[in-house]
């Protein structure tokens, strides 16, 4: 049953097309389409009723331009029958039977016709209002006689359309005749009641108990009484069946089918002729309701109503001028009697008539109206004028366009009138009429808007009741062109407003089917103006209405059982409702069809769950599930359930989640049974797998990549002066990229999350990879509710190359296995979308992150060897060392892998280097040097593989096939404070020999990057201090002293140094080593007496060595007394000094060390740094004076030199340990000591001629003899020296009695103070000869010094010259 939702609906004559069986469905519809082509019949073509030409109300030719508009329908319900008296256009005026002659080949067609007629008669109540009937028989065959009276054969040959139109005209003519009869009856009516809603009537009849209350409450549109109870079954079934049985309505109508025996109607059989007098004998209850006052009011109003009805019939009959005039009368009269319902209805009719007039005027070009019948209806409306003016055809645009504004205005007043109905009448406003009126305006506006303003085209569309030119199908899909909208001058808002006026709870008062139709047409309007959310709102309402019907029909179906046809039919309808659901979902931002490629921002947002209103989405999804359950459609049920579960799990309770999850299983089972669901549905859209990460292998198995280039080069080539630069780019892979090794078991850490409120039991889970082959191991686990779980999955790569970890294959208990990819986070998705939209948005850094996030690629490298430390020489991995001890560790390695090892490299670390003491930058550089030398300069470990040289980075080529063993030795040095260390053995198989290119691979490592594995040997080291040196001192070794000692010395035999050396070596225990050494030195001095060389320039280094251990130690000092000049006799110059220190005792060691002189160039060298990769830091310490700095450097270099010359080693006889005694730490030179150690720059050389030399500076001369004392001064400084030499002879009387004035006993020539000539630098000397004559015996000391003329520096000789004067005998 169609509603009158078009503005021109009231001019349509409804004609029902019924099939006269047997007829095929398709054939029937084909013929229906055919008949529908003849929906418009011009009045001029209709045969006039010749009998009463002048008096005929409708069939006269007075208004030939008029048109009859038929509305052919194929279904009909009596829901609106109560309105038929009020609005005649609702009524079915004609019934046309359609027969298919092909089905009647062997039978007489008349049988069928009889059947049709009988049908009409038998159920007279079925179409009580039909006043004209026809029966068309299509496709007649030749042999079928056209002899049945009343049956019209439509031949399928010849001018069929002409024939058809003739038939239609004939039909129209009959209708018009009938109209006249009806109109005549109407005119005679005494009272005419307003329509009363049938639902109300039913209520009254159903339960009289609630009579009064329901009457007063129900009609009021109110939210407070939403009637959502499913309507009574009887009502339902009637509204659903295609050929409905009418509701047993108590209302009778004047519109009863009249007896048409008279006219040209070919109905042979007389129809039951009881024409009930069309008095409105309403049901008793209704008349009870209507009081006597009401009755009289009705009587008063009746004339106006009659006018209105007549006008309606004129409108139907196409006699527009008459219609308009009657409408005007009706309006006037209704106004007078305050009959608002009829008034409003009349106004509606009038508007329709005006529109039609405008249409005809456009169509025909000129109208011959009856001038007097069309007075202006509203003073404000210009359009009524148009028909009156013959020249109105070219009416100006403004007047024309105004009807767009005007019609809604008029309808506004119509609405107002409708609103007043309830106040002035006992009978409330029929909701349907109100709703229809709203929709009429909305559709009118929409049509105008869609077609770009008011024009003839729009008018014709309006008359046809179409929204646009296209077929009805396109109506749903079209959007609204904004440009067109602007032109039309109609706002979307106004359309929506009119539409929404129709919506509301009052719509529930109208019959269910009409509700659905009305709602759907509202949806159509709203969605075509782009108000999707409003449309969805109404769609939902309509689904609410439909749902009970669905359930009902299912229930019926199940009881009916095996009827096949209805199922098929409902299947067709299901699709429709499912599409509706989809649209509702779309409008609410629920992702509904992810499979279509078109991704808008909205769907993207919806996928992320950010779009829309969660509560509403849940509600809607639940409704969707309910609807699909009712259908039942398993696939959509599954779809909505999964969407609800995976998108909305945050918002729904745990119980419901569990229920949903179990429902999914149930649905799948049921769906499979029904064949609607295939098993490969992705139920779980949630990303269970959050991350997959390789577990770093144990250190023994980890491989580390190396590039061929050495790393030092790389760091230098950086160009960055800073070793650590906080601003430089961080190394990208701080966490080293883990590489997998072919055929080796690998573990992955997989983080799984379960966002649901129930436990997920994973029957099996395994990694899913692509790229090179990978053999995953299958595990099983359970993820607790609302939690994440970290499990370890394992697998073995079988092939080298890149391996892409995609995610996991997971089989959740009860479901099929499914691949879960690693969860992409929303950010990256968003960034992707942003980038696609605007390229500028994201930087490079983000993209890198993206790539890392999106793909997890691992590199699988070829098989690697595996070594094992079989055994070491250590006990419990611990080592006890004495300080300075040299020891050795034996390590035996075994190749337990399947690949040979051809490269081994050892690196060491110990506790002193791994966490060195922080160096205070304030420390003076010498001390820094000390600290560095300790931490960096003295390695604990060294590898024997490279001898003395410490092998650090480079490795060694070996050949160790699988299964073989290999020994290596590592030297260990006992370093103080060292407590642990690690030996790291890197090994690999670099020179892989591939069969293809043997030559190249043997030359070069096969890859630019090669991999090594590491083996760690941790050591526990204890270093005990056993010997300590202390109390260093450096003393002069004065030749004078040795002279006296020389006298005591018993053994004079060892003149030869070499010989004495030999002796000493063999007879250590015979002599005190120190004494021996002193003798030796003395010999040295004595031997070089004549040379006047610096060979005899010795000093004495004294130190204490304390043994704090419990065993005696043999200590050997070696002193390198080689002078810098003659290196060739270096061996001879080394003096060994062995001795033994018993436990817990201290020995004082006295060592004669040749005084050292370092060239000035050596002294100005800066303090070196042990650490090559040390960051240079500008010293924060306060600047020292250059002299001080020089002095410090001097001190440093002399100390270094001394330490270089002195070496000590120890040996423990009982344990066989030996090592090096650390002297460095205890040696602190004082300036005084330095001055002793250091040879002076200015060297004095004294010689006395004619004397016996007894020592370096001691001479024996005879008295009273002239001798020449020559003092030569050698300048070793870098610059020339200009100096004054002062000589002071002193007579020594012994017993510290001295006489300074020796002028009495010595004669000398010349001055004691002389200015020497300038002595050039570098070993040049100046000589000063002083002739002397000693007058008396005794001992004389000569003191002398030089004073630099410029710097006033006084330089002494640290020894005085002693001359013993003896009597000449």
């Amino acid at each position: 049953m169609e509603l009158a939702i078009n503005i021109t609906s009231s001019c349509r004559i409804r004609v029902l097309l019924v099939p006269v069986g047997p007829i095929k469905k398709s054939t029937f519809w084909k013929h229906v389409e055919l008949v529908k082509q003849f929906a418009v019949v011009r009045l001029g073509d209709v045969t006039p009723d010749l009998k009463k030409d002048s008096t005929a109300m409708f069939s006269s030719q007075a208004f030939q331009e008029g048109q009859l508009h038929f509305q052919f329908m194929t279904s009909y319900s009596r829901d609106q029958c109560h309105l038929e008296d009020f609005q005649p256009h609702r009524r079915i005026f004609g019934v046309i039977g359609i027969m298919d002659c092909q089905e009647w080949k062997d039978r007489n067609l008349s049988e069928g016709y009889d059947h049709f007629v009988k049908n009409l008669d038998k159920v007279d109540a079925k179409y009580p209002t039909a006043v004209a009937t026809r029966c068309f028989a299509f496709d007649p065959t030749e042999n079928q006689p056209d002899d049945t009276k009343g049956l019209i054969m439509i031949p399928n040959v010849g001018n069929m359309s002409f024939y058809m139109s003739t038939m239609m005209c004939d039909f129209a003519s009959e209708l018009l005749n009938q109209f006249e009869m009806i109109a005549q009856r109407i005119e005679k009516l005494q009272t005419l009641e307003s329509p009363v809603q049938s639902s109300m009537m039913m209520d009254i009849t159903d339960n009289k108990a609630h009579n009064a209350t329901s009457m007063s409450v129900l009609p009021q549109p109110s939210v407070s009484t939403p009637d959502l109870n499913p309507p009574p079954p009887a009502n339902l079934s009637s509204s659903r069946t295609p050929s409905p049985t009418p509701i047993p309505s108590s209302s009778t109508s004047f519109l009863k089918r009249s007896n048409t025996t008279t006219a040209r109607s070919s109905t042979k059989t007389p129809i039951a002729t009881e024409i009930r007098s069309p008095t409105m004998n309403r049901s008793y209850s209704a008349s009870n309701m209507v009081g006597s006052g009401e009755l009289s009011k009705t009587k008063r109003r009746t004339p106006g109503r009659i006018q209105k009805l007549l006008a309606d019939f004129y409108l139907l009959a196409g006699r527009l001028p008459d219609a308009v005039s009657h409408y005007n009368q009706a309006i006037d009269m209704a106004k007078g009697t305050a009959d608002f319902l009829w008034l409003a209805s009349a106004m509606e009719g009038q508007i329709c008539a005006m529109l039609l007039l405008e249409y005809l005027h456009a169509d025909v070009g000129h109208i011959a109206p009856r001038g007097q019948t069309s007075p202006p209806i509203g003073s404000e409306s210009p359009s009524p004028q148009t028909p009156t003016e013959p020249t109105g055809a070219i009416s100006d645009g403004s007047a024309v366009a105004s009807s767009v504004i005007e019609i809604p205005l008029k309808y506004d007043s119509v609405m107002q009138k409708y609103a007043k109905v309830s106040s002035t009448s006992a009978f409330p406003l029929p909701t349907l009429v109100y709703v229809e009126a709203c929709l009429k305006v909305a559709r009118f506006l929409l049509t105008v808007a869609r077609n770009g303003g008011w024009n003839d085209h729009v008018v014709s569309l309006l008359v046809q009741g179409k929204l646009s030119d296209g077929t009805d199908k396109t109506e749903k899909e079209i959007g609204l062109d904004r440009q067109v909208l602007k032109q039309s001058g109609v706002t979307r808002l106004s359309i929506a407003e009119w539409t929404m006026r129709a919506a509301g709870s009052h719509i529930q008062d109208i019959p269910v089917m009409d509700q659905i139709i009305a709602t759907n047409s509202m949806v159509t309007i709203l969605s075509s103006i782009g108000f999707h959310r409003k449309a969805a709102f109404l769609m939902r309402a309509s689904v609410h209405v439909i749902l009970p019907l669905l359930i009902q029909s299912r229930a019926n179906l199940s009881t009916k059982g095996e009827d096949g046809r209805p199922i098929k039919q409902t299947g067709r309808h299901d699709k429709g409702i499912l599409a509706v659901l989809e649209q509702i979902c779309m409008a609410h931002g629920i992702e509904s069809s992810p499979e279509d490629g078109l991704i808008t921002t909205k769907t993207l947002l919806a996928q992320q769950g950010q779009y829309g209103w969660p509560e509403l989405q849940i509600e809607i999804l639940r409704e969707c599930i309910t609807v699909s359950e009712a259908l039942p459609d398993y696939s959509s049920m599954l779809k909505y359930t999964t969407i609800l579960l995976r998108k909305m799990y945050k918002h729904i309770s745990k119980e419901e989640q569990i229920r949903l999850a179990s429902t999914i299983q149930r649905i799948v089972v049921a769906g499979k049974k029904a064949g609607q669901v295939d098993s490969s549905v992705n139920y779980w859209g949630i990303d269970l797998v959050k991350s997959v990460e390789v577990v770093k292998p144990i250190p023994r198995k980890a491989v580390s990549p190396h590039t061929i280039k050495t790393e030092v080069v790389a760091s230098v080539s950086d160009g960055d002066p800073f070793i650590y630069n906080p601003f430089s780019n961080k190394k990208v892979s701080d966490t080293r990229q883990v590489v997998l090794i072919t055929n080796e078991f690998t573990e992955f850490k997989v983080v799984l999350t379960n966002p649901f409120g129930f436990d997920l039991e994973l029957q099996s889970i395994s990694l899913s990879t692509s790229g090179s082959t990978f053999e995953p191991t299958i595990a099983s686990t359970t993820i607790p509710a609302n939690a994440s779980l970290t499990i370890r999955l394992t697998g073995t790569p079988k092939q080298s190359g890149p391996l892409i970890i995609r995610g996991c294959h997971i089989k959740i208990a009860g479901f099929t296995e499914q691949e879960f990819l690693i969860g992409k986070n929303f950010n990256s998705l968003e960034q992707e979308s942003m980038r696609s939209g605007s390229k500028t948005a994201s930087g490079t850094k983000d993209s890198k992150d993206d790539e890392q996030a999106s793909e997890y690629v691992l590199n699988v490298i070829p098989e690697q060897p595996l070594l094992k430390i079989r055994e070491t020489s250590l006990l419990h991995g611990a080592l006890m060392l004495f300080e300075g001890e040299h020891s050795q560790i034996d390590i035996e390695l075994e190749n337990i892998g399947n690949t040979p090892v051809d490269f081994v490299s050892l690196t060491f670390s110990d506790s002193t280097t791994t966490n060195p003491l922080p160096i205070n930058p304030e420390l003076p550089t010498e001390e820094v040097y000390e600290v560095e030398l300790f931490t960096k300069g003295t390695p604990v470990f060294s590898w024997e593989g490279f001898g003395k040289e410490v092998a650090k980075a480079s490795g060694k080529k070996i050949n160790l096939p699988p299964g073989e063993k290999w020994n290596l030795q590592v030297n260990v040095f006992g370093k103080r404070t060292c407590n642990s260390g690690t030996i790291q053995i890197d090994y690999g198989y670099l020179y892989r020999i591939t069969s293809s290119d043997k030559t190249e691979s043997s030359e070069q490592p096969s890859d630019a990057v090669f991999y090594t594995r590491q083996l760690y040997l941790p050591l526990l080291i204890t270093v005990s201090q056993h010997l300590e040196s202390s109390n260093w001192d450096i003393l002069y070794l004065r030749p004078q002293a040795t002279v006296s000692q020389l006298a005591i010395k018993p053994s004079q035999e060892s003149e030869n140094i070499k010989a004495s050396h030999q002796v000493l070596k063999h007879a250590t225990d015979v002599l005190n080593p120190a004494e021996q050494l002193l003798h030796l030195v003395h010999d040295d001095i004595a031997s070089t007496e004549a040379n006047g060389d610096e060979k005899h320039d010795y000093c004495l280094v004294v130190l204490d060595v304390r043994n704090i251990w419990t065993t005696p130690f043999d200590i050997t000092f070696s002193i390198d007394n080689a002078t810098g000049a003659d290196n060739e006799i270096i061996d001879n110059q080394i003096i060994y000094y062995p001795f033994t220190i018993p436990p817990v005792s201290t020995s004082r060691i006295t060592l004669p060390v040749r005084r050292i002189r370092l060239p000035p160039s050596h002294l100005i060298q800066p303090v070196p740094s042990v650490d090559p990769s040390k960051q240079f830091v500008v010293s924060q310490a306060p600047k020292v004076a250059p002299e001080q700095e020089k002095a410090r450097l001097k001190m440093f270099w002399y100390r270094e030199e001394l330490l270089k010359r002195l070496n000590a080693s120890w040996k423990c006889c009982s344990t066989g340990r030996d090592g090096h005694l650390q002297l460095r730490s205890s040696l602190r030179l004082t300036p005084l000591q330095l001055s002793v150690l250091q040879k002076s720059d200015i060297e004095f050389l004294v010689n006395v001629e004619n004397s016996k030399r007894v020592g370096l500076r001691s001479f024996q001369v005879a008295s009273n003899q002239f001798v020449d004392m020559t003092i030569s001064i050698r300048n070793r400084r870098a610059h020339n020296l200009k100096a004054i030499l002062r000589i002071q002879p002193v007579q020594d009387h012994g017993n510290t009695l001295k006489e300074n004035d020796a002028s009495n006993s010595i004669l000398w020539q010349g001055l004691l103070h002389v200015i020497l000539p300038e002595i050039p630098s570098e070993e040049e000397s100046a000589k000063h000869k002083l002739p002397l004559c000693f007058l008396s015996r005794g001992r004389y000391n000569f003191l002398y010094h030089v004073e630099d003329v410029f710097t006033r520096e006084i330089i002494f000789d640290h020894e005085r010259t002693v001359i013993d004067v003896i009597d000449t005998v």
Partner: protein, 144 residues
């Protein structure tokens, strides 16, 4: 009849940032009984949601932030207030009183701006601050 209000702040993606039901007077005024409440559980939200279409249409025609009554459903009116950030403040009410609603909107808008200025508040995310909630209710008591 005591009037009932339903207030919602709707974000850019049709997502509710904040919603509350407000009753004006001291009288307990549930206009739904228990039975109908179930059916109409989300009716308010649905009405607001469907009104968004109209808001989006109206906001281009009106310079002011306050859009007055923009939609109605049965006896309910929907008043809208669109912030400069295209966040919609929507009030569902059954009594027409333009001035007080305007005041209400202005005050709530101020509150909303304060929330918005919070550096920890992420734009277009639900407002969970209980203080905001109580403030809104207070404002509602004052003006509605």
């Amino acid at each position: 009849m005591a009037s009932t209000y339903y207030f919602a702040i709707v974000g850019k993606n049709d997502n509710p940032l904040y919603e509350t039901e407000l009753t004006s007077s001291s009288k307990p005024a549930p206009n739904f009984d228990a039975n109908t409440k179930d059916d109409h559980r989300h009716l308010n939200q649905f009405i607001i949601h469907s009104a968004l279409d109209v808001v989006e249409e109206v906001q281009w025609n009106n310079q002011a932030l306050y859009q007055k009554v923009i939609d109605r459903f049965n006896e309910y009116y929907v008043s809208a207030f669109v912030t400069s950030g295209n966040t919609k403040l929507l009030l569902l009410h059954d009594v027409k009183s333009e001035d007080s609603i305007k005041n209400f909107f202005n005050e709530v808008h101020e509150m909303y701006i304060k929330v918005f200025m919070n550096p920890f508040y992420q734009s277009n995310s639900p407002i969970t601050s209980p203080q905001f909630d109580s403030k809104v209710k207070f404002i509602a008591r004052r003006f509605l």
